[in-house]
Assembly symmetry: C2
Homo-oligomer: 375 residues x 2
C-alpha cells in the first residue's frame, strides 16, 4: 500500500496530472467495488465504492423509502451503530409523509432481538435496516432469515456490513438482500476513513434513484448537459468526485483477503475467537471480566467484547502501558478485533495475559475516566 500510494502521489498526480483520470482513476469505484463484491457474495456490477458509509446509507435508505411511498416505518434495532440511526432519523424528517424509525430493543445487549423484529416488521414497514454484525457485541444476524421476513411484508432490506466485510463470508445474493453499505477501513484494511461501498441488487438498480444526483452518476457526464439523466446500472449511485488517494489505498488490502480466501480467514477467525473465549473463561472471568459477545461462533463476527465495571480505565491502561489497542465502547465494552491475516495465537495469549495483569496489579487505578482520547 505504501508503494502504491507513493506512486500515486509522485507519478500519477505529480507527473501525469489530470491524465490520471484516464489511467485508472475514473474506473476505480467500479474496479475496487467488483473486488469487494467477491467477498460479499455479490455480482461484480452490484457493488461500487463511494463517499462515506453515512452518506451511502442516506442515499440507499432514502431511495428505498421513496420506492415504498405508501409505507411509514423504518425498522431497526438498538444494537445498530448509532450513526445509522441518526441518518435514518434525518431521512424521516425529509419525507413528504409521516415516517418513524422503530428501534427494536435487544433483551440482553448481546443478541439481536429476532422476536421483537418479527413483531415490528409489518405491512407498514418500508425498510428493515440493521448492522449485519453489530459493533459492540459482534452478534451477526442471519441475513437470509431476516430478509425473508422483511420480504414477506413487502419491505426492503438494507444491511450495514461495516463489521462483516472481510471478517466473514457474506452471501448477499444467496440471502436475496436488497441493499447494503459498509466501510472499508475495518477488516478490509482500506486505511483511515477510506471511502465506503454500496450494494444494490441488480434488478433494483434502475428502479431506485440516487437522491444526491451528481455528475459522477450522470449518463455521458462529459457532454455537460443541464438536465440530470442517470447513468444505467449502479453508476448513478455515485455523486461527486471520489478522493483518489484514499480510494486507491483500499485495493491492496482487498486483494490480500481475496488471495488468502475469506473461507480460510473465517476458519482461523473462529479458532482464534474460541481460543480467546477459552482464555477469558480461565483467566479473566475470575477477575470480573464478562463475555459481552455471543458464545456461539455461528452468531459472531470477528470481534469479541469483554465487559468490566472498570472497562474504560482498563482500556486506557492497556493502550498506554501494555501495547494492547482495543476500542472502548460505552458503557463497558473492551472490544478486541480478531484479524487472522495478522493476528497470531500468541498475540491473543499475550493480550489476555495483559488484560489479567492490568486488573491483578491494579494498573488501571492510574487512569481517570475524564479527558479520554477519541479513538
Amino acid at each position: 500500500t505504501q508503494e502504491l500510494i507513493d506512486a500515486q502521489v509522485a507519478r500519477s498526480w505529480g507527473q501525469q496530472l489530470i491524465r490520471g483520470w484516464s489511467h485508472g482513476w475514473i474506473e476505480a469505484p467500479e474496479r475496487i467495488g467488483a473486488k469487494i463484491a467477491g467477498l460479499l457474495g455479490a455480482k461484480a456490477h452490484e457493488l461500487i465504492v463511494a463517499d462515506s458509509t453515512s452518506v451511502n446509507l442516506f442515499k440507499l435508505a432514502l431511495a428505498a423509502l421513496l420506492a415504498r411511498p405508501e409505507r411509514h416505518k423504518i425498522v431497526t434495532d438498538d444494537l445498530n451503530f448509532p450513526s445509522d440511526l441518526y441518518v435514518l432519523q434525518g431521512i424521516c424528517q425529509l419525507l413528504k409523509r409521516p415516517c418513524r424509525v422503530e428501534v427494536v430493543k435487544s433483551t440482553d445487549s448481546i443478541h439481536g432481538p429476532m422476536e421483537g423484529l418479527g413483531e415490528a416488521i409489518d405491512e407498514d414497514t418500508a425498510l428493515v435496516t440493521l448492522s449485519h454484525t453489530v459493533f459492540k457485541s459482534g452478534y451477526t444476524y442471519p441475513m437470509a432469515e431476516l430478509t425473508q421476513l422483511a420480504h414477506k411484508s413487502g419491505a426492503l432490506t438494507l444491511w450495514d456490513l461495516s463489521h462483516s466485510a472481510g471478517a466473514l463470508p457474506v452471501q448477499l445474493n444467496q440471502s436475496k438482500a436488497d441493499l447494503a453499505v459498509g466501510c472499508t477501513y475495518k477488516y478490509l484494511n482500506g486505511g483511515p476513513g477510506a471511502p465506503a461501498f454500496l450494494y444494490v441488487r441488480e434488478d433494483l438498480q434502475d428502479q431506485l434513484g440516487n437522491p444526491i444526483s451528481g455528475w459522477m452518476g450522470q449518463k455521458n457526464a462529459f457532454e455537460f448537459g443541464l438536465d440530470y439523466q442517470p447513468a444505467a446500472g449502479l453508476r448513478h449511485f455515485l455523486s461527486g468526485t471520489p478522493p483518489i488517494l484514499s480510494l486507491s489505498a483500499i485495493e491492496p488490502g482487498v486483494e490480500l483477503i481475496l488471495e488468502a480466501g475469506i473461507e480460510q480467514i473465517r476458519r482461523k477467525s473462529v479458532q482464534q475467537s474460541e481460543y480467546l473465549i477459552a482464555l477469558w473463561r480461565q483467566k479473566l472471568a475470575p477477575l470480573g471480566y464478562t463475555l459481552n459477545s455471543p458464545e456461539d461462533p455461528r452468531q459472531r463476527g470477528s470481534h469479541i467484547s469483554l465487559g468490566h465495571p472498570e472497562g474504560l480505565r482498563i482500556d486506557l491502561a492497556l493502550i498506554n502501558e501494555m501495547n494492547v489497542l482495543p476500542d472502548f465502547r460505552y458503557p463497558d465494552n473492551i472490544r478486541l478485533g480478531i484479524t487472522p491475516l495478522y493476528t497470531s495465537f500468541a498475540d491473543i495469549y499475550h493480550a489476555v495475559d495483559r488484560l489479567a495483569k492490568v486488573v491483578e496489579d491494579g494498573l488501571y487505578h492510574r487512569y481517570s475516566t475524564e479527558g479520554i482520547a477519541v479513538t
Copy 2:
C-alpha cells in the same frame, strides 16, 4: 505533500494505528478548513472540509430550502457547473412542496446574466446559487452585489467557489454571503478528488440543519446515544468519517498559497492572463481562435478559455504531441489554467506558440472526435 503522505501511510496509519485519530486526524476537517477560510475572507470557524462538492452542495442547498419553507424556487444560471444543477434538481424532488430550479440563460455564454438574474430573483425565491467563477468562460460574479440582490428578496445565497478558491481573493464575510461550497483540487492543489469544503456564516450555523445527520456531526459522538443531537457550530455539517489520506494532502498546498499571499498570486494571475490574451490577439485570433472569456480582468477568475471550431481535435493534439494539457469543455472551449505559483510567463509563451503550430501545421487532422479520453 509526498513526504507528508508517506509519513501518514507508514507512520500514522501503519504504526500508530487508530491512535492517529487522537494525533491530528479528528480535528483535520476543522484545522484545514480554518486555513482555507483565510483565503476566502471567512472566519476560521465558518469553514470545514468534508465529503465532495456535490454532497456538500446537497447538504447546504437542502438546508437552505428547509429554512425558507414558504418559497418554491431556486435561481441559478446556465453557466453553472452542470453537476450543481443535477443536485438542485434532485433536491427539488425531495421537498414536501412544489419546487423548481430556474436556470437563467446567459446571452453570450461568457458573461453572467446579471439582468436575467435580477428579474428571476423574487419573493418566491428560497435560494440563489451560482458558481462564483464559472467553469467554462472563467467569468467571476460580483458576489456582494448578487448577495445584496438575493437578500433584498429574502433569499439565501450559496456560492460554488471551486474555480475561485486559491485563484483570487474571495470576500465571503464582506459580501455577506450565506453559504458556500467548493473543491480543493483545482487552485488549492489538494490532489485528485480531494475532499471539498463548506462554509456556513456564523449566525446561520445553528439555524440550519444537516439533512445527512451522521456521527461526525453528533454532539458527544463517543457517548453513542441513540438519538441525533447536532453538535454546536459548524461541526454538525459533518456526516461520516473523512478520508484521511486525501484530506491530509490538502494542507501543504493551502499553506503554500497562504505563505505566498492570495493578493500577490492574484496580481501575477492578472498579469499572466493579460499576457495570454495579448498573445492570443496577435498570434491565435488570425488562426480562428476566439476568446471565450471576459476581456475585463475584473470579471475573470484565473483561467482563459479559447474557442475554435476544431477545439476538441486541437485539444487532443496539444495533449498528445505538444505537452500542453488543457481541459476541453464542450462545445469548443480549450481551457487554460493560470496558476502563478508554478506557471511562468515562458510557459504561457510556449503554450500559445504550440496552439498556433497545431493549427498552422494541421496537426489536429490526425485526431478524431470519437473515443476521446476522459480528463
